[in-house]
């Protein structure tokens, strides 16, 4: 038991920042990133005994984080749709004021906004490869796909992102 707790503490110290970063880039929300980080480590505790290969702990925990993020987004989508249906009105999002647009118009936000428009799979690949600098092997392990597919999907995702970033920059100028 003591050994397990030590492992979990060690696991948390080593990877909580990675998990949080992934969640933050995936959701672009601090609150959601915290929720995902917490849920990921609680899931990891429950499943720790199933982890056979200790060398793959990083990709294992990030794949949990990815699945948790996908689940959370799905739940929120259903919740939003139900709210819309029940209130018979679309939920209006806050429209930024002109001054906020100017202040917020930073480069990182442009990329983050473009990233948010991509599909879950593409977003995950770009976060892993470009923002966390994981290898193709690690990215493939996190997504549970082959290395060849990870490579091809990464290039396609990058092409889509470039298009989106271009569109956002053109729209603002």
């Amino acid at each position: 038991m003591h050994q397990d707790i030590f492992k979990i503490e060690h696991l948390y110290d080593c990877y909580h920042r990675d998990v949080y970063h992934f969640a933050l880039y995936y959701t672009n929300s601090k609150q959601e990133a915290e929720d995902i980080t917490q849920e990921t480590f609680f899931k990891a505790i429950k499943q720790l005994h199933n982890l056979k290969d200790k060398d793959k702990v990083k990709t294992w925990i990030l794949s949990i984080a990815r699945n948790t993020a996908v689940d959370l987004h799905r739940r929120q989508k259903i919740k939003r749709l139900l709210t819309e249906k029940l209130s018979m009105q679309p939920v209006l999002r806050e429209v930024p004021k002109p001054l906020e647009i100017v202040v917020k118009n930073e480069q990182w936000q442009t990329v983050q906004e473009a990233l948010m428009t991509l599909k879950s799979h593409d977003r995950t690949i770009i976060i892993c490869r470009m923002l966390k600098d994981y290898t193709i092997q690690e990215t493939a392990a996190i997504l549970g796909i082959s290395e060849v597919k990870a490579r091809v999907d990464f290039h396609r995702a990058m092409a889509r992102l470039r298009k989106k970033v271009g569109g956002l920059i053109d729209g603002r100028t």
Binding site: M1, I8, H16, Q38, F42, Q107, W108, V111, Q112, L131
Partner: protein
């Protein structure tokens, strides 16, 4: 990769709110320390219930396939040996199929699933229900009237036809005697 791509991603890597809140990190660490790891139960309730139900189902199938020892009063009373052999073959085949299915379920570790447990339970209850029904519903045997067919070889089946005729006669005599009383 274009140089502009790297510039954009470097900018995103340096977003100001990138690092997690220290208070949140410490709280979560403490929560994880306090969380006790529950060891996986070797035997769940579903397993404990499924094992006897499965054994009962196997016994049921074995009995049906080999000897009909439940005295199901309204089950088809077989009179022709060919039909009996055919039914036995079908029963054996069904028994084998079901046994293989149960083996597969156990081998694959699917017995924890509620669906499998429910299936086994339902088959068990159906068996018990059938037994109770057969015990309490004591109905007369149905009379099968012989029919004539030109293509049927009556001479070779004469023995069976006589046997059926005899059973019918006996039944009718008993019925008439009962009516006269």
């Amino acid at each position: 990769m274009e140089e502009r791509d790297y510039e954009l991603f470097e900018a995103l890597k340096k977003r100001p709110d990138k690092d997690p809140d220290i208070v949140f990190s410490n709280q979560l660490r403490q929560k994880l320390e306090k969380t006790h790891i529950k060891k996986k139960k070797r035997f769940s309730i579903a397993t404990i219930l499924t094992v006897p139900v499965t054994i009962a189902t196997l016994l049921f199938v074995f009995n049906i396939g080999t000897g009909q020892s439940f005295h199901l009063k309204n089950a088809a009373q077989l009179t022709i040996h060919l039909e009996k052999d055919l039914i036995n073959i079908v029963c054996m085949f069904l028994m084998l199929t079901l046994s293989l299915f149960i083996l597969l379920v156990y081998y694959k570790g699917l017995m924890k699933g509620r669906l499998v447990y429910m299936t086994f339970s339902l088959s068990f209850f159906a068996w018990v229900g059938n037994l109770i029904y057969a015990e309490h519903q004591n109905m007369d045997e149905p009379i099968v009237q012989p029919s004539y067919n030109e293509t049927y070889d009556y001479t070779s089946k004469q023995y069976y036809i006589d046997e059926i005729q005899q059973e019918q006669d006996n039944y009718l005599m008993k019925k008439n005697e009962g009516g006269m009383k």
